[in-house]
Symmetry: C2
Subunit: 234 residues, 2 copies
Amino acid sequence: MTQTSDTTSYKDIKQTVLHRIRSGELQPDTLLPNEQKLAVEFSCTRTTVNRALRELADEGFLERRRKAGTRVLSAPQRQARFTIPLVRDEVEALGGTYRYALVSHETQNAPDWLAARLSLRPDQSVMHVRCMHFSGNTPFQFEDRWIVIDSVPQVEQADFSSIGPNDWLVQTVPFTNVELTFLASRADASLAGFLDVTEGEPVFTAERITWLQGQPVTFAKMYFAAGYRMTTEF
Amino acid sequence: MTQTSDTTSYKDIKQTVLHRIRSGELQPDTLLPNEQKLAVEFSCTRTTVNRALRELADEGFLERRRKAGTRVLSAPQRQARFTIPLVRDEVEALGGTYRYALVSHETQNAPDWLAARLSLRPDQSVMHVRCMHFSGNTPFQFEDRWIVIDSVPQVEQADFSSIGPNDWLVQTVPFTNVELTFLASRADASLAGFLDVTEGEPVFTAERITWLQGQPVTFAKMYFAAGYRMTTEF
DNA sequence: AATTCCATTTTGTGTAGACTTTATCTTTTT
DNA sequence: AAAAAGATAAAGTCTACACAAAATGGAATT
């Protein structure tokens, strides 16, 4: 179907099975025929069927268990996949010109709440960086970030006046584990000033904790300008 | 490594390659050896290497192009996977007792903004349902939903006094396409009453548009109680 | 100098078959 | 009846090989 070729591809099978689910031909909780039988039906090998069903299971449509078989999930575990863009990319994708400005940075002992959050010893020192991201001259995001110096000692040589701490970290410790949280917070006087909104306004906020092989690397709060919407399709 | 067997599995290869990336042995933008060579290195077939690299590319670590080869992504396209839970499950996972209450429902012509949003004809009628989700006696979420009757005619027989519109829709048209948006909004007087917060407070809000094979099915705004946090790890 | 064309390399995907792992079901034993 | 043991079915994964598709880099042509 998809290609001009005459063989049945795993993509064809995915599409067909998905169609059967959506049309109601395959009811939720129904058991599918086993791979062997589907292979006969689609006149292809079991390998091909396996890949199709495996991917559909990955995508949250099916549940597969050895010996038990493959069944249609009744409450589809649909998963949204957010691709978290870098601020620069996001601004540019929206047609703006990206501009970065450092607000402040200083090294200090980890405040208690941060030490607790990241499981730091109370004496560990962190670099506190605050900065702004603009789209043209419009505030886009205010970033409030702490970086654990023991985890990234090079940070003491970093020059955050020209490069944002996020960009710097992505370049320096690119592959990390992340805990991401979205919430709505309230603009206090200071934040209202940075984002050019009225004090008390709702602000879409993302918190991000980053770990490198079990070591806490950074905690960031990102406050987005009024009207910001984080959207995804799936 | 993972198993007791003596063959190299695609999981071993994934782990090894990922480790080489994290440790800096494979720098961003570096080209990996081709599948043939890796197969020799890991003494397995190219098929096995292919699966490992394909999955790592899926997960956003690598970029693969025919003829060009496989390279480490410099700005890892890490994707957050949010599993969107049903409200009931979410409340129960947090240790609460789920309770549902219908606030209002009525059939009407689609308001202009909704017709525009969902590409409806101005005369198409929709069912407007408002309801509350509680954790014990604490407000958890206020749901404001429109359902396109032409797309789901059965909705006219549905009894939303006992079952939530989301649960009903999941049962009725389980497999759909979704556009999901997160934002921060401001509690107006009515919403403040429902969620038991002060008027003007920030409210974490999710909007969800659902399509069934190109047909708009439903638009929902979900307003979460104060302090709500949507978290994911990846 | 630019463009078109083509060979080659690399990933993408299919076939055929084997062995492995796990969970379920059945049977047997307690 | 309950618990333990064993048979078996289904998915999971690997090997070995083949051909397809894409895109790149260089050669040929304009």
